[in-house]
Symmetry: C2
Subunit: 243 residues, 2 copies
DNA sequence: TGATTTAAACCTGTATGATAGGTTGAGTTA
DNA sequence: TAACTCAACCTATCATACAGGTTTAAATCA
C-alpha cells in the first residue's frame, strides 16, 4: 500500500545540515586546531569564505552564531577574536527555559542550592582574609539597609558572587550568576515576600550565619547555614504559591 | 599635551550595539511578550524585517544567532519555531572554556561533583522502582563489560544521566550532561588511567555503591558513595599529572 | 631623527536583488 | 474519501555594493 508523499514524519526527523552549520563547525575546529586562546584573532570573513568555498553571507551567519554563543567577539572594522568565557550564554539559556516553562523556579532554586552548597564549603576552606572580611562587610551593609529592598537585592547578588569567587574556581561564579540571574529575571516572588522588615531581617541573619562560618573556615557550618538560607527561600516559594 | 587620535583605549570600551543586536533583543522580547512556548512559530523573516525596519540580512543574522543559542530552530521552508531546552549550548560553552584554558579539568570535575552530590541525594529520595532497577542493571552491564573500555564509557554516561533523570528536575540532566561531555571531550586522562582491569573494577564498584544507596533510598549513603567515586577520579587526575 | 599626521588598504555592518529548493495548504482528480 | 498537483510562501545561499570603523605604512612636520 504505497503511501505517497513519502514517510514524511510530520514532526522532526533529521535536521539537514546547512552550509552555515558546516562553517560553524569549521570555525570551532579552526580555533581548537590552531590552539587559539582568548583575544587571539581569527581570519577575516573573506578569508574564511575563500577557504570554505562559500559566500560571505554564510561565513557571516556562522560568525554571528559563534558571537551569540560568546565564542568569538565581533566588532566593526577589526577582526573577530576569541572571546572570554562568561555567564551570559548560560544565563540566557536558563532564562529562556524558565520563560517558556520548560523548567520552573523551584527546580532552578534546587540547582542553585546544589552548586552553592559546594561553593560555601570551598569558600570556607580557601577564602583569603580579605574575602572573609568582605563577606562580613556585605552582611553589615545588608543589616544597615534592611529598609532598602533594591539595595539589599544588590548586596545579595554581590554576596553570593563573592562566595563563588572565593572558591578559586572560575566556573562557580559563572554557574551561580547564571542560575541567580535567571531566577531573579523571572521570579521576584521571594523578594516580594520579603516585604515586611521581619522577613528581611531573617534573611540577613541567614546570610550572616553563612559569612561567619566561611570566615571561621568551617565548611560543615557553612553548608548548614546555607541549607537554612535555602529552606527559608523554599518556604517563601511555597507560601507565595509557587508555580 | 593633547594627544590626537583621541582617548581610544586600545583594548575594549563600549561594544557599540548593532542592528543585529537590536533585532535579537526584539525577537526575544517578542517570544516573551507573546508568551510563546516550545514549538510555537515565529513570524517570517520578511515580517520581522518589515516590523523592525531593517533588511532581511539583519533579521537573518539575528535569527541565526538565536538558533545557535537554541532559542529557536530554523529549517528551510518552514518558519522558525521556539526550540526545546537542551544541553548543547551549555556544553559547547563549557567545552570552549576548557579548550581555551579558561578553566581546567579539575575545576570542571569539581563543579560536576557539586551538581551530582545533589542529584544522587534527590534520586535516592525520588527514584521510582523502575529507575532503581535500571541503575542496578547498568552496573551489572558495566561489571560484565569491564574489558570493553568503549562500552564502559557509554554505560558511565548513561548511569550518571539516569541518576539526573531520577531527580524529576530537568535542569539536572542538562547540567550533568554539559559538564560531563565537556570533560570527556577534552580530557580522557581519567579513562586512560583506567587501562588496567583493576582500576576499572574499582570504578565499577564505586558505581555499584551509588546505585545501591539510591535503590535503598538512602541519601546520605548515596552522597558518601558519590564522594568516594569522585575522590577516585580526583586521584586519577593527580596521578596522571593534571594540567 | 623622531613624533605626528594622513591616507590607502582592509574589514565589518547593512542593504538590495536574485535564484534554488523545501513546505504547506487549497484545490483537483481518481 | 484518499491521493495528487500546484501555486504561494518561506528559507538557504549567492553576488554585489557601499558606508563607516581600524590598521598600517607612507608622508610630513618639528
Amino acid at each position: 500500500m504505497p503511501r505517497h508523499h513519502p514517510p514524511k514524519p510530520p514532526a522532526d526527523t533529521a535536521p539537514p545540515t546547512t552550509r552555515v552549520d558546516d562553517a560553524i563547525r569549521a570555525m570551532t575546529d579552526y580555533i581548537h586546531g590552531e590552539g587559539l586562546k582568548v583575544g587571539d584573532k581569527l581570519p577575516s570573513e573573506a578569508a574564511f569564505a575563500d577557504r570554505l568555498g562559500v559566500s560571505r553571507t554564510v561565513v557571516r551567519e556562522a560568525f554571528k552564531s559563534l558571537a551569540a554563543m560568546r565564542i568569538i567577539e565581533m566588532r566593526a572594522g577589526r577582526r573577530a577574536q576569541v572571546c572570554a568565557f562568561d555567564a551570559s550564554v548560560i544565563a540566557l539559556s536558563l532564562t529562556h527555559a524558565l520563560r517558556t516553562e520548560q523548567i520552573n523556579a523551584q527546580q532552578m532554586w534546587d540547582a542553585r542550592r546544589a552548586v552553592e552548597m559546594r561553593t560555601v564549603a570551598l569558600a570556607a576552606m580557601r577564602r583569603t582574609d580579605a574575602e572573609a572580611a568582605g563577606l562580613l562587610g556585605l552582611v553589615a551593609q545588608m543589616r544597615s539597609s534592611v529598609d532598602d529592598l533594591a539595595g539589599m537585592t544588590e548586596q545579595d547578588i554581590a554576596f553570593h558572587t563573592a562566595i563563588a569567587d572565593a572558591t578559586r574556581n572560575p566556573l562557580f561564579p559563572v554557574l551561580v550568576t547564571s542560575l541567580t540571574s535567571a531566577i531573579r529575571e523571572t521570579n521576584p516572588i521571594v523578594w516580594r515576600h520579603r516585604r515586611d522588615t521581619d522577613a528581611r531581617r531573617e534573611v540577613v541573619e541567614a546570610h550572616a550565619g553563612i559569612a561567619q562560618a566561611i570566615a571561621d573556615g568551617d565548611p560543615e557550618a557553612a553548608c548548614a547555614a546555607l541549607a537554612a538560607h535555602f529552606d527559608l527561600a523554599s518556604r517563601a516559594l511555597v507560601t507565595a504559591g509557587f508555580n
